[in-house]
Subunit: 137 residues, 3 copies
Amino acid sequence: MDEPLNLVLFSGTDDKLNAAAVLTAGAAALGRPVNIFLQYWALEAFRAGHVDADHGLAPEAGASGAKAVADMAAAGQAPWAETLRQAKEIGAVDIEACSLSMDLLKLEPSDLDPLVDGVEGVTAFFLNAGEGQVVFI
Amino acid sequence: MDEPLNLVLFSGTDDKLNAAAVLTAGAAALGRPVNIFLQYWALEAFRAGHVDADHGLAPEAGASGAKAVADMAAAGQAPWAETLRQAKEIGAVDIEACSLSMDLLKLEPSDLDPLVDGVEGVTAFFLNAGEGQVVFI
Amino acid sequence: MDEPLNLVLFSGTDDKLNAAAVLTAGAAALGRPVNIFLQYWALEAFRAGHVDADHGLAPEAGASGAKAVADMAAAGQAPWAETLRQAKEIGAVDIEACSLSMDLLKLEPSDLDPLVDGVEGVTAFFLNAGEGQVVFI
């Protein structure tokens, strides 16, 4: 289990980002390196000053799903950005923005939250992923 | 090919659940163990008395997609829950609810369909997944 | 890194198809075989005469996301179908339609774009995937 877990984050809704953060924290707790590659709307969610905003939910959540998520937040559940910060403290979690998506969203590295460690292309992502599992979220 | 196939089911729409059931049945037919981990809206779809309800489709399906799916059902296509039941009969298919999502949806084990074998945390999921592929749906 | 990258394409919106095309091109550039399996709405997007149509975006894109994508297209970004064509020229990229989804959408092989190499079932997909990573998009 020395191979990294490699997450391509595409979606930027809070439910999918939280699912990704939970998988990251679980892998980090097991001592496994995690590489995260931010594309499209997930990258948008990692803009500086933007990670703690409301990013909505998948359409299928509906009103009852939105209420369940709001209830969990009110009960003290850590937001996904906080879960990722904690995962970075306990393990080797590297978060990179996709260079093509940086162009798409007209972002500079200084526009990104400090959670993001850098910008790279898709070939660098695959080289770092090695033989490890690749998961698209 | 002794490593399990590991599916994290996040979405609870009938098209994605059917895609997941088909992948599960295919892997089981090849003698491969399958671990399914239910999160968020997929877990909601596995509530007792709820698996055969209409869970909608991805928004992109549109009216023509919805008609195509309804036509297949009318022509006798097995629903995804039935495909999963058959996969469990022919192979080693284990379906676990994510403990965090159980809290989110305020569910107890007795609230779940008998297709679900238990409740576990994300670290248990990763330990069971081992070196096997992890697929997020 | 001799194992193939195996993509199950489910979604047929232009943002997800472009993300898939970029991953394909990156893997092909590294000399890695890529197997693509088309299900549901992704298969719909590969209908003959249909690949260059507007297939919309994920709902979360919103108006600002749609404008960003349109701006990139106006600036000369290759559409996803063109990126896939280029990936097939430089590498071993095989694109197969899922036989069940062919039935669902009432399609014949002659209804598909020449980018699609054939039709196969899910067990054939898994056998070709071997020990390689499986990614659901």
